[in-house]
């Protein structure tokens, strides 16, 4: 028996059962489509929106915010963490900051962002950056502080110090942690982005997935709401399995740094 194949079979079965139940229960129990439309009608709405292009527009709006926010967040987190490792006493500063801000849900600072920047993209990006930065810093910090001392010695032996040592030894050595930080950070960011759109609507004129769900709800288009939820799940799967797993396979797994 092949284990990975077994696992995949179990997973596909679970998905099939959920989909089948979703399709059959509303029909058999004759539940109103405003409460729970069957799977096929959610897919029909999704298909329709994919054809008329509105799905791609709202996806693009959400993802473009997400990519910019996550990218900026990662950059800030890494520069901040690396800086704190170079400057004496910096580690305590970083730990304190992470301790203060990590427990704060990013969505909670949205009202503040709106006060500062109004209903603009900048507000959304600020919130997404906030959602990424602390998780990423925490993981980068763990990665940097659990680096094998001998690798640091190897770098120092070659005359590397400060930023050069960080750039050529610490980054790669901490990559397994940086990737798990990215995993956690992106998931926070995606939820935060959708939540922000759901609660406060479109920012900067372009409506994203969350905004679409918000509109569908106000029109009692439950099929549309489900189509939005499906989209959120699908994006999650694509990023998680399509992108992040591929990066892991081609780097830290290939190098034997994680199992």
């Amino acid at each position: 028996m092949n284990k990975p194949i077994q696992k995949t079979a179990v997973r596909l079965t679970v998905v099939a059962v959920v989909v089948l139940a979703w399709e059959l229960v509303p029909r058999i129990a004759q539940i109103s489509p405003i409460v729970l439309p069957p799977f096929s009608s959610a897919v029909a709405v999704l298909w329709e929106r994919a054809l008329d292009g509105s799905l791609w527009q709202s996806l693009l709006a959400s993802l473009s915010l997400l990519v910019r926010g996550v990218g900026l967040g990662i950059l800030i987190a890494i520069v901040m963490t690396a800086g704190c490792f170079i400057i004496p006493g910096g580690r305590e500063v970083l730990q304190t900051l992470v301790g203060l801000f990590n427990p704060l849900p990013a969505i909670a600072i949205l009202p503040l962002a709106l006060l500062w920047f109004g209903f603009s993209e900048r507000s959304m990006i600020l919130v997404i950056v906030f959602s990424v930065v602390w998780a990423m810093s925490l993981n980068a910090y763990t990665g940097f502080s659990t680096i094998r001392p001998v690798l640091v010695d190897v770098g120092r032996n070659l005359g590397l110090r400060g930023p050069r040592l960080i750039a050529s030894i610490y980054f790669s050595a901490a990559l397994p942690h940086l990737l798990s930080g990215l995993r956690i950070g992106w998931a926070f960011a995606w939820r935060t982005a959708v939540a922000a759109e759901l609660v406060y609507g479109a920012a900067g004129g372009q409506g994203g997935i969350g905004w679409q769900i918000y509109l569908d709800r106000s029109e009692f288009n439950t099929g549309g709401v489900f189509a939005g939820l499906l989209t959120i799940v699908l994006v999650g799967l694509v990023v998680e399995y399509g992108i992040l797993n591929t990066i892991e396979m081609r780097t830290v797994k290939k190098w034997g740094m994680v199992n």
Binding site: R148, V150, L151, D153, V154, G155, R156, N157, L158, G159, L160, R164, S168, I169, S172, A173, L175, T251, V252, K254, W255, G256, M257
Partner: protein, 267 residues
């Protein structure tokens, strides 16, 4: 039977050779972790000449590895001096390449040849051939050409140590420092790597400071053997006439004399 002729620590140990500057000079070096702690290395002096293999031997905790780390520039001295070609050693640098005991001293994200290339580039070591060619040449010296494109996780412990040795040699250091590099290897692999190091030492005139707690290893590899007491001082520096012949009757006898001396010093 002739007792090993010990030179008191600090005295010139290379009779008739004092006019030539040693590659490495250690003068009255003492090391302690922190100002209030007792010294780990206690007032140690020795020279290592160009092309010489100098062995530091002693029991666990005698300070031999600490002393080696000081030679590499990782560890500050409390007092005394370390000179490389007459210049004070204070920081780590690629003129003193270290081979560590840990197998995991290779960068896991680089292949064997990339590990060597990395060292050549970062050390800023200049050469006529391309960096790639020099790295491949270094791997060939340790008979690892076939594994050039393997990642460290795909190599055995012995092969990883070979890559580490190739990496150290490729940057053409003034001196190679080895910290029990074969301590965690099985007996057969250890023997073949010891032979490799002895060959490289002779063929390339490699200057070497080698830390070990194995007397056989010391006698097999060393031109001279510095015996350290558990208090971190030198019990003596012994010229070794049995390099490469530790298995000969005389070599075995010399080894057992050293062992007696080492055990006596432990009391």
């Amino acid at each position: 039977m002739s007792a090993p002729s010990a030179h008191p620590a600090g005295a010139p140990t290379t009779g008739g050779n004092e006019t030539r500057q040693a590659t490495l000079t250690v003068r009255n070096a003492s090391i302690a972790y922190g100002p209030k702690n007792p010294v780990i290395v206690n007032n140690v002096s020795f020279d290592v000449n160009q092309g010489e293999a100098f062995i530091l031997i002693g029991r666990s905790g005698c300070g031999k590895s600490t002393l080696l780390r000081a030679l590499a520039g990782f560890q500050e001295l409390r007092s005394g001096q370390i000179l490389l070609d007459g210049k004070n050693v204070t920081t780590p640098g690629p003129d003193r390449m270290m081979v560590f005991q840990n197998f995991d001293q290779l960068l896991p994200w680089r292949t064997a040849v990339q590990n060597v290339e990395f060292a050549i580039k970062k050390a800023g070591s200049k050469g006529a051939a391309s960096v790639r060619q020099r790295a491949l040449d270094a791997l060939q010296m340790v008979h690892l050409s076939a594994a050039a494109d393997k990642f460290p996780s795909q190599l055995s412990g012995g092969m990883q140590q070979r890559v580490a040795i190739a990496r150290a040699l490729a940057v053409r250091p003034r001196i190679v420092l080895m910290d029990e590099p074969f301590g965690a290897l099985d007996a057969m692999t250890r023997a073949s790597l010891q032979a490799e190091v002895l060959r490289l030492h002779k063929e390339m005139n490699m200057t070497l400071v080698f830390v070990t707690h194995s007397i056989e290893e010391a006698v097999y590899l060393g031109d001279r053997i510095g015996l350290m007491t558990p208090q971190g001082a030198f019990d003596g520096i012994f010229p070794n006439a049995f390099q490469g012949q530790v298995d000969s009757p005389e070599g075995t006898e010399f080894a057992s004399e050293l062992r007696t001396r080492l055990e006596a010093s432990a009391v």
